[in-house]
């Protein structure tokens, strides 16, 4: 970071690196990231969340489900009656809040990751078809997409969640499927733009086949915008999952999740305020990391793109 990049007539050296392979690319992205403080911070925060989720078993001091009524409703360590044994205090059943927050990361990230994977995967395929086929197919697909985007999102998510019932699998499916239109719209827009662009035209004039254009030219250029939007959507899904949990419509109460913790905390808000405070801070931490990272990715990968928000 301390080393100043060598500047030539066409810009800094970092921009000119053209080595192939995965590792040089990672190094290149790392150098770009180091230039941007907010982006670095976002990446670090995101990695913390990911590591917490992976190593939850080792990190958490207690079993997040273990009830201990004698230690119930303990305030956090820094308040008068708190003890260092439960740094963030305990909830109404004496479960350790820190451990529950650490385990809650797993639910949030699972929902965010698989939700985005489903939505992104299906959205990519549908968007490619829509953008590349054009004509009637495109009209029908985009009609459906615009219709879903015109719906009041939260009302329908709550509606579907109430019908399907509480399970992690259902929550992933709900977000995975309701988020497809966002990815379709981005993919289609990019495909349409690229179809008219010089490099695709050159490829066609050189006699490239359709699959070749699609997989060798268009697909690699879609990765940037899709990853960017995926970062934002992941943070949105974590947010909505917590909201569903708050209403008692997300994962079953036996699974420690930030939303479920908030739902409990709300009941005891005036007497034991810490129960609701910490899961909220965890959501903010995760969301902030992903948003900072997303902002940076957008600037680096595709400066033209503006965030599309439902």
């Amino acid at each position: 970071m301390s080393q100043t990049p060598e500047v030539t007539s066409t810009g800094s050296r970092v921009d000119q690196e053209k080595e192939r392979g995965l590792w040089p690319k990672i190094v290149f992205v790392g150098k770009l990231l180091a230039r941007d403080k907010a982006g670095t911070l976002g990446m670090v925060m995101f990695l913390i969340v990911v590591f917490t989720a992976i190593f939850a078993t080792w990190l958490s001091p207690y079993d997040p489900l273990k009830q201990n009524l004698r230690d119930a409703k303990q305030p956090p360590a820094w308040s008068e009656k708190g003890s260092i044994q439960h740094p963030l205090g305990t909830d109404n059943l004496g479960r350790d809040l820190l451990s529950r927050i650490i385990y809650g990361t797993r639910v949030s990230l699972t929902v965010g990751f698989f939700g985005v994977l489903i939505a992104g995967g299906l959205g990519l395929v549908i968007g490619l078809i829509s953008g590349y086929a054009g004509g009637k197919t495109d009209n029908i697909i985009m009609g459906g997409v615009n219709m879903i985007l015109a719906l009041p999102y939260l009302v329908f998510v709550v509606f579907i969640a109430a019908i399907l019932g509480r399970s992690l699998f259902n929550v992933i499916l709900i977000f995975g499927f309701t988020d497809i239109p966002i990815f379709v719209r981005i993919t289609r827009g990019e495909v349409l733009r690229m179809r008219e662009s010089g490099f695709v035209e050159s490829a066609i004039s050189l006699g490239a086949t359709r699959p070749r254009i699609l997989f060798d030219h268009i697909l690699p250029n879609l990765i940037g915008p899709l990853i960017t939007i995926a970062t934002f959507e992941m943070s949105a899904m974590i947010f909505y999952e917590a909201g569903l949990g708050f209403l008692g419509l997300s994962v079953p109460p036996s699974i420690p999740s930030w939303g479920n913790m908030l739902a409990v905390g709300r009941k005891y808000l005036t007497i034991y305020p810490w129960i609701a405070t910490f899961p909220g801070l965890a959501i903010i931490f995760a969301g902030l990391g992903m948003n900072l990272l997303g902002d940076w990715l957008r600037d680096v990968l595709d400066p033209r793109m503006r965030r599309i928000k439902k």
Binding site: L154, V155, F156, S235, L247, G265, L269, G280, I283, L288
Partner: protein
């Protein structure tokens, strides 16, 4: 312009028909709507009776025709819990939600647009840092959590606002005027919108500042203030229309968390109650009703946008 309005109108009607289908078939998703509505201890006979009573034993197509023809007339059947027409329950709760969403929109517009203008016209300054921070905060703080924290600080500890409920003051005896009870829920609900407006206004101002016509105006020696009002603000205002329209729809339909936390007697609260009671006729009615409102708002926004910007009306 007429053609533009007409095409948007047809589009909106098509969307509403689609919504009607979604709302109807959603209940059939699990295969048996009645099993969703009864408690687990219900006997098969009880379920059969309910199925008969609510007409779920008829062929699907007949059920759909019945549902759709009712919906067109504003009839969504009766709430199974309240034994009243669902539509009446919705209309009774509507004023509270409109009040909340309107106050929320005004608050977020005032804060969001002001910060966005200050930030965008002084990039790199302290105002810009505040504006960017506000934009980020709006996107990352969950409104349901913010609501809880605000209650804790301002209602419980400081006692400035009521902890929950809606109080209105009747002007001339019949015109309800919002009181301070709306402040906390409106602020929590509007946080996301505020963030969006800051971000949007800021980037619009930044972009327009670099346009040729602004440079021309400067080179002609026009005063800064006049350039801001006449050129930058006017051009930034046009796309703002569409953001504000969409956000108002979001505020009207997205208040379920906030209304639950503050026991605000609006549509969101009714939806949460209906879900808790497994009163799915009412849930369907609310989903369809809010969709109509949102689609109608989008239509109005599109028309206003088309009026303000000729490129939209002819370009499409």
């Amino acid at each position: 312009m007429q053609r533009y309005i007409l095409s948007r109108l047809v589009q909106s009607l098509l969307i509403l028909f689609g919504v009607l289908c979604i709302v109807f078939f959603m209940l059939q998703l699990t295969g048996d709507p009645v099993s969703l509505m009864v408690s687990r201890s219900a006997s098969p006979e009880q379920m059969e009776r309910l199925r008969e009573e609510l007409g779920y034993n008829r062929p699907m197509i007949v059920q759909f025709a019945d549902f759709a023809s009712g919906a067109v007339r504003g009839d969504f059947g009766n709430s199974t819990r309240h034994h009243q027409p669902a539509m009446g329950l919705i209309l009774a709760r509507l004023p509270a939600t409109i009040e909340l969403a309107t106050v929320s929109l005004l608050m977020s517009m005032f804060i969001g647009i002001t910060l966005g203008l200050l930030g965008g016209s002084n990039p790199g300054s302290l105002w810009d840092a505040i504006a960017r921070g506000a934009g980020l905060i709006g996107q990352t703080i969950p409104n349901f959590w913010l609501g809880l924290i605000l209650i804790l600080i301002f209602s419980v500890n400081l006692g400035w606002f009521p902890t929950f409920g809606r109080e209105t003051w009747n002007f001339l005896g019949f015109i309800p005027i919002p009181t301070r009870s709306v402040i906390l829920p409106a602020f929590s609900l509007g946080l996301f919108t505020m963030g969006q407006l800051v971000r949007f206004t800021r980037s619009a101002v930044l972009e327009i500042r670099g346009e040729d016509y602004v440079r021309t105006a400067y080179s002609k020696g026009i005063a800064d203030k006049r350039i801001y009002v006449k050129h930058i603000l006017r051009n930034a205002a046009i796309p703002l229309i569409s953001i504000i329209g969409v956000q108002f729809g979001y505020l009207l339909s997205g208040s379920i968390y906030i209304e639950t936390i503050f026991s605000w007697p609006g549509l969101g609260n009714l939806l949460a109650e209906a879900i808790g009671n497994r009163d799915f006729a009412l849930v369907q009615a609310i989903a369809f009703f809010t969709s109509i409102v949102v689609v109608f708002l989008n239509l109005l926004t599109d028309i206003a946008y088309g009026m303000a910007d000729p490129r939209i009306r002819y370009g499409d």
